[in-house]
Symmetry: C2
Subunit: 329 residues, 2 copies
């Protein structure tokens, strides 16, 4: 317990260092700068294309629904053949700002991540080879890949590059809190400001800081009091094999957290109020009053930014040569 509290203190120091630059431990995020619109548009199509799955039914957007904050709002996802996923689907919004991808950080970046679900038998249950063959059989895609990458031959690297480029545009600037950070003091209410102060003073900011209000470190879930769960995930330990990393998870971003219920890697907390209560007790040894809890929740809701706004992509049709999916065998 002593050690843990020391842990928080040193984390707060780190957060303090960030504060020196900006006065605040949280920084606003900026709209994405698109340098290659054709690449982004291609990535958007791929993100929405269920033909990247064995069944022809599941796309990235099935589990990271951009109409709903970039996740599926389920405890754990529904994959190929209605298989139950092992862990809560994190939002893809602002995921480019994270230090690594997945709860355990096993993918270094968005490109490395994007190949995973296509070939994962629990998710899209396809293979990279089948995905590339499928795309290569579709003249509309072949033309677009050619325009973007310069030749007629598609590769899985090009697929993940395009998806990642699209995901990099999925940032959510202009939250009320960001407006406040930028000087518009009326952008949040007095109670929301109190919530922010409580968030800082209580020590939440030790782990949830920086532009993504999290996403920049791995931390123990259940620092002060152990977290009870049936979910077998071991967190960062699965990547490093280091016992010290057992049950360390990437600290989730709190941007748009109002939209990304249920909470925690096992999706066990249905509401933000429950999640804040659990965090207070397990990470800080604090039992918030109902009022305090409400103030923090109020502050967290100011972190909802502009959601990605784009015209629903239109996918190029399959050709006579495209292998038809058969979801039921």
């Amino acid at each position: 317990m002593q050690v843990s509290k020391l842990g928080i203190a040193s984390l707060l120091c780190l957060a303090g260092a960030a504060m020196a630059q900006s006065d605040e431990p949280l920084q606003p995020i900026e709209p994405a700068k698109v340098t290659n619109q054709a690449l982004v548009d291609l990535g958007a199509k791929l993100f929405f294309d269920p033909r990247l799955s064995r069944s022809g039914f599941i796309s990235c957007n099935s589990c990271h629904n951009l109409s709903m904050g970039g996740s599926d709002n389920l405890k754990s996802s529904i994959g190929d053949r209605w298989q139950q996923g092992p862990i809560n689907s994190p939002t893809v919004l602002n995921s480019s700002l994270n230090l690594a991808q997945f709860w355990d950080g096993r993918a270094a970046d968005l490109r490395a991540q994007a190949g995973g679900p296509i070939a994962n038998p629990m998710e899209m249950a396809f293979s990279h080879e089948l995905a590339v063959d499928m795309l290569q059989s579709i003249p509309g895609y072949v033309n677009e890949f050619k325009a973007v990458f310069g030749d007629d031959k598609l590769s899985i690297d090009e697929v993940t590059t395009a998806i990642a480029a699209f995901e990099e545009t999925l940032v959510t600037p202009n939250s009320r809190f960001d407006k406040w950070l930028k000087g518009d003091k009326k952008a949040i209410t007095e109670d929301e400001l109190k919530g922010y102060q409580l968030f800082k003073e209580s020590g939440c900011i030790a782990c949830h800081n920086g532009p993504n209000v999290g996403g920049n470190s791995f931390q123990r879930m259940g620092l002060i009091e152990p977290y009870q769960t049936d979910n077998p995930a071991e967190g960062r330990f699965a990547v490093t094999g280091d016992d010290a990393d057992r049950f360390n998870f990437k600290v989730p971003t709190l941007r748009n957290v109002e939209l990304t219920y249920p909470y925690f890697h096992d999706g066990a907390a249905d509401t933000l109020s429950q999640a804040v209560d659990t965090m207070g007790r397990l990470q800080l040894g604090k039992k918030f009053t109902e009022e305090e809890n409400g103030l923090i929740v109020g502050f967290l809701k100011t972190l909802t930014g502009d959601q990605p706004s784009f015209v629903l992509p239109q996918l190029p049709p399959s050709s006579d040569k495209t292998v038809r999916p058969n979801p039921f065998n």
Copy 2:
């Protein structure tokens, strides 16, 4: 066989009557006129909202994907718990122009139709009551329904009214063929024009006519030669109980038919070329040459119009009171 050929002859007369008005048996379609944008926007949200299903995973857009021509491009759809649907999912594009909804026409119009899938245990597997309770628990929806319908209390009628209003906007004007119909003689190629002439001369036009190039009558599948299928659907007979209606199906629209593979109520034809071949043989007793088949397919592809173009809807988040879906029990 005599009778059947007489059948086609009299159908051609009917089509001829339509021709008198416009010189051609097909008419161009016009962009939707939106009189109540707020109602349409609400309908778009509902169309994309998977919370209208038991699982929280399946929306109207899952099976009528507006990125893919308004259907799912599967032989038969994937419903709740990955159940295999009984029949091919027809496109929702231009479905407002059809004389009735469903392959057997059992729903009179889009409003009557929209309640069906929500409560169908094979599809969204929810109930009207649970759907209304869910929506009623979400402040963002309550506000929108109030703005549109004038009070705080939601009803399933309001839900289906909004969905139908959105669907009425899903028309696809400006196909190259429509441009040609309107006088732009260069909008289609000479071969495409030949294909159209063959489509008329062969008798396809007897059933596929009017603004929706179909959708305006029920016709026997397998008029000249019986259709072989394992699919147990009996068509219009299921509605009327009249033996004469056995195996009569609503003639599908051929607008955007390039996008709505696979074809027929059982989804048995993977390609347009197969579907045209089957139609020639079974409906008209004609075996097209490869060249003729290609000309007709070429013409059919000129029927692809402007796809619906709108910004991906953003759904209002659930509140703490909203019952969370549990797809796995």
